[in-house]
């Protein structure tokens, strides 16, 4: 059974189809790039996999289950904006994650927080934008989940931190997990991807291994993206 099975998935907001008959099947043991320009449906797809939105038609399943209580145990989600109570300190947020998620590895979280120089006693609301993003990512990546859904994980952080984050993703990668990274900073992440999915106007434009793309086109994924989505 595929870890993630999406069949004929459609999501409409009024007349607008944010996702239009999308079918994607993902096996475990992969790092997948969900790539597309603004408004192509990336966040909508991730939100459906999280159970934050319900499909208009079709289905999205994780381990054969519709998104819900059962899947939230195994899905680690990094939203595209902060959803954590920002009056809490780093330590308190780690407590919170430990309470909520049985797969939260506190030691791992502490090690990442320290590596990135995040103050454990500081309230989240007093942190810079980049530091907030780093902290959220530490919390998410410290879970030993089966599915990681990372919505724009590297958008607001400096290049050195980007490298650290990618290394964290690689080191956390395990054969049982699927990691989905949505982003448009393709050049920065393409070397860590197995598969890439291009979304265009809510449809899957391309789903292929990154190495195949390089082999067949002689281009980087980033270059191909710029061609496919040329304005």
């Amino acid at each position: 059974m595929a870890r993630i099975e999406i069949e004929n998935l459609t999501k409409k907001f009024g007349e607008l189809a944010a996702l239009d008959n999308v079918s994607i099947s993902l096996e475990k043991g992969q790092i997948v790039g969900l790539l597309g320009p603004n408004g192509s449906g990336k966040t909508t797809l991730i939100k459906i996999l999280n159970g934050l939105l319900t499909p208009t038609g079709g289905s999205a399943k994780i381990n054969g289950m519709e998104p819900g209580v059962g899947t939230k145990k195994v899905v680690a989600y990094l939203p595209d904006r902060n959803a954590l109570p920002d009056y809490m300190t780093t330590d308190q947020l780690m407590d919170l994650y430990g309470d909520f998620f049985a797969d939260f590895n506190r030691l791992k979280a502490e090690a990442m927080v320290d590596d990135l120089g995040i103050d454990r006693k500081q309230q989240m609301k007093k942190m810079s934008k980049g530091t907030k993003e780093k902290l959220q990512l530490c919390l998410v990546m410290a879970r030993e989940a089966e599915v990681y859904l990372l919505d724009e994980p590297i958008g607001g952080v400096d290049p050195a931190t980007r490298d650290y984050i990618l290394k964290t993703i690689i080191s956390n990668y395990n054969e049982d997990a699927v990691v989905i990274i949505s982003t448009h900073l393709i050049a920065d992440i393409e070397s860590v991807l197995d598969d890439v999915i291009f979304l265009k106007n809510g449809k899957v434009e391309l789903h292929k291994s990154a190495e195949e793309i390089r082999e067949e086109t002689g281009e980087s994924v980033d270059q191909l993206f710029r061609e496919v989505f040329k304005c």
């Binding site: 043991g29 992969q30 790092i31 490298d163 990618l166 290394k167 690689i170 080191s171 990668y173 070397s191 860590v192 991807l193 197995d194 990154a210 190495e211 390089r214 082999e215 086109t217 002689g218 281009e219 980087s220 980033d222 270059q223």
Partner: protein, 123 residues
């Protein structure tokens, strides 16, 4: 050691080239243990599956061998290493002569240019 990847070339072939160079140049010595896949992947900033694929190919070519429980090692076979260096040398000569050909040098020109260049080095 630094890893640099170029656009538009499969990463696993670039890893193979880099590892081959490290073996040929002695950065990895015969019998050295090859770091674990994940460690190498993190170091290079690439997908672990890609690194795995590259190491499997190096193994197929006989440049590394694996021992069931203890991991991968650089080959001790002198003949494999000798072939490897010869292959690389041939490749560099091919590249060189192709480039010199493009700027209009024929075989004779190249032969004498190489000779005088080597003489220059000796001084």
């Amino acid at each position: 050691m630094e890893w640099n990847f170029r656009n538009g070339i499969p990463i696993y072939t670039q890893i193979i080239d880099e590892m081959t160079m490290r073996i040929a140049s002695g950065a990895y010595k015969p019998g050295d243990k090859v770091p674990a896949v994940r460690e190498l992947a993190m170091d290079a900033g690439v997908n672990p599956n890609t690194m795995q694929r590259a190491l499997a190919e190096l193994e197929r070519r006989g440049l590394v061998y694996s021992e069931r429980t203890s991991g991968r090692f650089i080959t001790n076979e002198e003949s494999v290493l000798k072939d490897l260096r010869e292959d690389l040398a041939k490749r560099y000569f091919d590249e060189l002569t192709e480039k010199l050909g493009k700027i209009g040098m024929d075989q004779e020109d190249i032969r004498s240019a190489v000779g005088s260049w080597l003489d220059g080095l000796e001084k």
